[in-house]
Assembly symmetry: C3
Homo-oligomer: 342 residues x 3
């Protein structure tokens, strides 16, 4: 888009060359063809060195720029508006079933549903009104997908999985795989056996849940693995069988929750944290990045960190140990030097 | 299913309303429509507050319940039986090749094999008797899949991969990707080069192995990456090139094993643990959750934890350091106060 | 292949039985049917106990072997040559579009492109000359894939993703998923809201980048998530939105980089390490396995380890604390015993 056209759409004024612009970017990352923005005179150095082809600046900016300037009342806000203009257009997923989709005749499809190419939906499944199921998805027998839920390509839902309304499942999400459960032991003759414990339950996802790419959630051994409403799960997260996430919680990338654990309302589990099985995280508790939680957190501490997880205060004290020990050592030496010889 | 019908099937007696039941669940998680169970009078409080519509109780239970009661000899056992009745019926994967599967004419299919829709099997592959290959799977050239092995949707086996008998591969498993191997350096002119090292080997999976959703196992640089019999691997696990897992071991979710390492028989690698490359874990050793193992474990310590991994005793001592240091500090201060001034 | 045939191809001499050989393997891992190798007399014990059917040995080896011997000038080099002979033949991906691929008429395909079965390419996408897109891939609207890039089965590129020349994307790679971004808060009435922040940018991958199985890279909130040239990413890695990896860096398995962080040139992020958002890792810095980096690394320390990450020196000192504290305790006790009673 031409800078002049963009200036018009953003209610701004172009100063300088009418360059072609293709994307937005921060002042430091921007390249030729990019539009950047600055509202704070403090960042004048970044403006001076930016490689952007145009920059959004406020009316009172008097330091110039090494590229075209588009003056706007609120550069932040104008940049968001411009980002929408530059964004790849959202693909239209019109109602209808692609002729290459394989949908069992018993499947009930709500009004306005989109089923993409090469998607498989097995018998007895139900897809709610206005849901979008993109290409190459697998939806097993008896699954239920709620209204207006969006499933991106190459997601798999094993049989019996239930997904609520207004959910978003990103590419490669795996719902309903067998939980990890085996009985081990030795037979009377001393030989080892490892027997699979049947995983007879399902996964149930509440309304408004978003699940990131390649995240895995296992079916319950008995009953349900449950992800409550409005929970937001990032990429590559692992949720074990019979976990219950009550709702309105966040689980950041590569975190994991072991079997039968309960996560309260409004919790935040940061990246790469691990939570043991058969414990409880109270409402509103945050588990820091890479923390390891071996036992129930009753909410008396609101943020834990470290492995095993502890309060920020205890964790901070632990970090200071080397200095403290060095100081003790010095004091002891000093004291020794003042003692009478023995 | 009606409570009365269920009572009949479980050899029990119904007391109370003949409610409709749809699932099993623990006393705390259960919702209306659920059947729960209790055998221990200690848990009477949980029974009193359960939201289940019916509860399995032993013959001598005299504390009542806020819902229907089904009296059975062994509530635990009856609950397992009920779970099977409530479980989503296992999909039937009848012998035959789905017309949309793309199977090279040279592929050898054993008797009774099921090949699901939109699955691709390339030339020279062999699928053993009774194997189930579900929808949208990719099996590369010359792969061999053993008898009665079950491959869930959207698994990929790169060329030459060998999978044993009675294995289970869950959705999104990736076998035979190139291992991470590059030669880096500088050319005489000072410029940097990064060259791919050809990954010429394969992945070989023994009999009775189960591999969880989205787990990745790389092909060997030379020879085989080997997962021995009866090994059970959870979700999102990473196994590097030329790793050898001797057999009868477990690798829990999000753990990782770097290249050329050997894991002995009967090991257990807990969630999110990481094991360095080119080392050896002796038979029967357990590596705790989030542990980091930088060097060979010869079996003299049976359980390690922490990063770098150490014995429980050493790890426990480390956890106590803040208290010990505080005590030393207090003692030192006390001692000082009793010294003559200098 | 017969040992005699192999000896001929490797310019070696066979001594012993003309056994059939099917693979290569180290002395310890080798099984009947394998060829192994040894050049160092120090490893004579391993040769004596190997289960290989033949072993490559240097001309001056005089300790014999329990199997056939192929004498060659350089056993290492000969083993690499043999590995190539035993490797599964690389599948031929001839130019052409498989009849079951679903390619929008508007897609521009370069000369010699291979499009595998059941692959979906949406409107406006461009595939460069000589690129190989294998089976069951999804390429969204307006994506651009560079010349000679190889995309393995079951990769997904969401709309607008740009991939450079000579890249390799392994099975299950997910590019362009929505970044994790939500606005949370409370409405005037006290109720909680969690709103999705539109993710309007793209993912752009430079030339010569390799990305491992099931790795996920999120699209930018605005602008680009950028992976610079020659970067090598392993399996199950997570890269957040708006991350910038300048180039020539390595990210090992299961590591993660949170949003808006910049990784310099020539960095190495080891397995399971985690890097916080909105920070900067200077050129050439290495982040050790399982390290957690909470703040910018300016390059004054070249290798960091631990969580929070510190220098090897500081990390080493921390590991020694238990010993130091025990020593202090003993000294204190000793000192006390020499003080006058009070």
């Amino acid at each position: 888009m031409r800078a002049s056209e963009l200036a018009k759409r953003l209610d701004g004024t172009l100063e300088g060359d009418d360059v072609e612009l293709v994307a937005c970017g921060g002042l430091e990352e921007a390249r030729p063809g990019d539009l950047s923005f600055c509202k704070d005179p403090k960042h004048v150095k970044l403006v001076e060195t930016t490689k952007a082809s145009a920059v959004l600046l406020p009316p009172d900016w008097d330091r110039g720029a090494p590229c075209a300037i588009i003056r706007v009342t609120d550069p932040n806000h104008a940049c968001m508006a411009a980002a929408k203009l530059f964004a790849p257009p959202e693909p239209v997923r019109a109602p209808g079933v692609h002729p290459t989709a394989i949908v069992d005749p018993s499947v009930r499809l709500g009004a306005g549903v989109h089923i993409g190419p090469l998607t498989v939906i097995e018998k007895g499944a139900e897809i709610g009104e206005g849901a979008v199921i993109e290409a190459q998805v697998f939806i097993g027998e008896g699954c239920r997908v709620g209204e207006a839920t969006h499933i991106y390509p190459q997601v798999t839902l094993r049989e019996g999985t239930v997904v609520g309304k207004d959910c978003i499942l990103h590419c490669g999400v795996r719902l309903g795989g067998d939980g990890y459960g085996f009985n081990n032991g030795r037979r009377p003759d001393g030989s080892v056996f490892i027997e699979k414990i049947p995983q007879l339950g399902i996964v149930e996802i509440g309304d408004g849940v978003e699940i990131g790419s390649n995240t895995t959630i296992d079916r319950a051994r008995i009953g349900r693995t449950y992800i409550g409403p409005m929970t937001k799960i990032d990429n590559l997260v692992q949720i074990g069988h019979n976990v219950k996430v009550k709702g309105y919680s966040g689980l950041i990338a590569q975190s994991g929750v072991a079997g039968s654990t309960e996560i309260g309302y409004g919790c935040l589990i940061w990246a790469q944290a691990g939570i043991s099985g058969h414990i409880r995280i109270a409402d509103g508790v945050q588990v820091g990045p890479q923390a390891g939680v071996p036992q129930t957190l009753d909410g008396s501490v609101k943020y834990v960190i470290g492995a095993p997880a502890e309060s920020m205060r205890d964790f901070g004290a632990r970090l200071l140990l080397p200095k403290q020990v060095a100081k003790l050592k010095a004091e002891l030496k000093d004291m020794k030097s003042h003692l009478p010889p023995h």
